[in-house]
Symmetry: C2
Subunit: 266 residues, 2 copies
């Protein structure tokens, strides 16, 4: 099944556009897991079990796994096995390289680890995207406008983010609906501009929660027909809701809160 | 010692601006290594031993290690131990993420693996660079103009690559000489423009060899005073010069060829 179908099914089944960010920072894991053989694997397992009926996807960010050495490597390898195949997993890797090198990144993400989607950096253009698009059942989220302050350094340079949106729209047509965008929730006006260009692409939207993005405007401007074609990511506010033994229970409560908050504003 | 000092010393000692790209693609390793416990580690060891008096640095690209699963992970972890501490190792990772996430990438590269430098993607701006600059003895090479065709998609958008050069120059001053650029050898005219803005930054220049960049123009336009402040990367043409048992010997011959070619044109 292609990604879009998988996404549509899970949004309907779980009635949710919430994505839980599995940014399982080793240093922030609950004390009670520190004696586990691999605390990251156990943490992810508990968070996934506590939230799997509330989400439309999971998004682990590779940085937290790479910084944890062998434990992180093993936890990264394990992720796809831990998550029901009906729920898409987005590898947040923001890779961007060319030709043969890009092919190896795509192989690592889509073949070795069998993730359903990746995040990609647009800087080097189509050459960095093409090898990923050769995997027909996968999906790419290309960075357009990001939630950080210094997005202004380059993303606004002669409206680069709109140029990215235009190119992604063109590539998405060419690839038969395999490419969407990352658009930060702290920039609702820019999100509106992007949605005018990319009317049906899936938008991956971080920045709600810890980063303080506005929910109401984000959902209004990000809405792209039928089920919305949005994936709203919340990470720390959910997975680190408690550092005690009740971490999974508290994560579930927070996930429910965000799921309902998004549905109310849809 | 800061990176610039280490770079100056090795350029003088080995009389070389050649960087060997350790893009040790598992599928292309010589047949004779396939029975080794870890063929990538053995391959790197042989290539390094055969070339270490001919280079100013090594540059492994993470994609080839990530696509090789556990073998690649172990080879990546091992790299820094295999290379004389006088020779800088540039982790070609092209990472680009923000805040806490960027800190974790920097930790993985500079603390866990103790690499001397990294390549970084500028798209998200200073927020993606800052956590790397906190490691005073390290160096960053930020993508400016890349050697591929579709660099035209965004890098030329209202001369974005020159905007990147301007920002890098500003950041480099602020960080006391810790940030240079990646500039593809297939674009000598753009390299000239960049050198006018970044007169003393170290340029990491891929694209000679397999990618067909022009040596003479590259060295002329890239020259940045004293020892040149350039690192010219050659990967496949050297490390895969032969697929037979003589692979290390042939790699040495090719490395000598490029070293001398660059010195002749300096």
């Amino acid at each position: 099944m292609r990604f879009k179908g998988k996404y549509d099914n899970i949004v309907e089944k779980n009635n949710s556009i919430l994505c839980v960010g599995l940014d399982s920072d080793y240093e922030r894991l609950p004390e009670c897991l520190k004696n586990e053989k691999n605390p990251m694997i156990k943490f992810n397992e508990e968070i996934i079990n506590a939230t799997k009926d509330l989400v439309c996807s999971y998004k682990p960010n590779a940085a937290f796994y790479e910084s944890a050495g062998r434990i992180g490597f093993e936890a990264w390898q394990k992720l796809n096995d831990q998550i029901d195949e009906k729920i898409p997993v987005i590898a947040d890797v923001k890779r961007g390289d060319i030709g043969n090198t890009a092919r190896h990144y795509a192989k690592a993400i889509f073949e070795n680890n069998k993730f359903d989607a990746s995040t990609n950096n647009p800087y080097m253009g189509w050459d960095a995207i093409k090898p990923f698009v050769e995997y027909e059942s996968k999906y790419l989220f290309v960075l357009a406008i990001t939630s950080n302050n210094s997005a202004s350094d380059f993303e606004y340079h002669d409206n680069l983010y709109l140029k990215v949106a235009e190119k992604v729209h063109e590539w998405n047509k060419k690839s038969k609906n395999m490419i969407g965008l990352v658009t930060g929730a702290t920039k609702p006006e820019e999100l509106k501009d992007i949605r005018e260009i990319c009317s049906e692409e899936i938008l991956l939207i971080p920045g709600i929660g810890t980063q303080g993005g506005e929910v109401e405007k984000t959902l209004k401007y990000g809405f792209g027909g039928t089920n919305g074609n949005m994936i709203i990511n919340v990470a720390r506010s959910i997975i680190f809701a408690s550092s005690g033994k009740d971490f999974a229970k508290k994560a579930r409560e927070k996930a429910k809160f965000y799921k309902n908050l998004f549905n109310k504003n849809l």
